[in-house]
Subunit: 165 residues, 2 copies
């Protein structure tokens, strides 16, 4: 377990969402008893920079779907999630759902019956303009499918009282 | 989400563990901040009955690893878990770990880098002799690997005050 999850100043419900190797959306729905709403802030296809190519194990210049969403319950943002997915590696049906956006990634993978694994890369406390002065627990992980990176994901969880649920 | 997870008489921490499509052991470790201990009650190879063959999509009479364990933290049992795995479908390294027992299944899958998905089949309130009069939330799911059932799992969570953590 990552050390940051042992800190006493981080709310338990946040720790649970940040600590799972399963779907965060699903846990948020269990915790709140309500539906999670995915809201897309930005979604477009970009050419991989050397940095992105490194994260995804692809060549610089390849097409990548770059998506930034929030996960909300009752208009409260619990997660800001950025995902990068190499277009050529995404199975067709998955691609349509991913680019239509507004569907949580866990649900997309489940509905298309993909077999995957999630490799957690990093967990740290940072700041993000989106959340202003509120400290943020950030985690990065890769979703692996057929031995390749299907998606690199960064989820940011604001550390404050909204997690008392 | 399963209806049983919306009931108000079920402790939140239990709902979280029963509601995840990820590793229960990992969530228990985040919730308690301690290591989970797997204790094997029984582990042996059996010939598939017609019922077991149906659960695993194999032929009657094929060899199946039948394992019953508890997940404990500080000597408190949080989960009683039964798993059935068709011997011929388990990759060799996984088989050794599984039959040596005392390693949580989520950790075995992660360490061998298996890509899988979990299909929840059923969730219900039952009684189990192991927990005496305490009602039990039971869930059944399959771990799918290479389009076949790698494991059928039944996890039983006692519904009582032990989940106040």
């Amino acid at each position: 377990m990552q050390d940051v999850l042992r800190r006493h100043d981080i709310p338990s419900c946040l720790k649970i969402c940040a600590g799972t190797d399963g779907s965060v959306t699903q846990l948020l729905e269990v915790l709140t008893g309500k539906n999670v709403k995915v809201e897309t802030i930005a979604q477009h296809v970009v050419k991989a920079t050397p940095e992105i190519a490194g994260l995804l194990n692809i060549e610089t210049g390849e097409d990548v779907n770059d998506r930034l969403v929030t996960l909300k319950v009752d208009d409260i943002v619990y997660v800001l999630a950025k995902s990068l997915a190499p277009i050529n590696r995404i199975p067709q049906g998955v691609k349509d759902d991913l680019m239509r956006a507004d569907i949580p990634i866990g649900r997309i993978l489940r509905e298309h019956k993909l077999e995957t694994r999630r490799d957690i890369l990093k967990m740290e406390i940072v700041h993000r303009d989106f959340f202003g002065d509120i400290p943020v627990l950030s985690r990065e992980y890769k979703i692996i499918y057929e031995n390749s990176v299907l998606m690199w994901i960064n989820e940011c969880f604001p550390i404050d009282g909204r997690w008392r649920m």
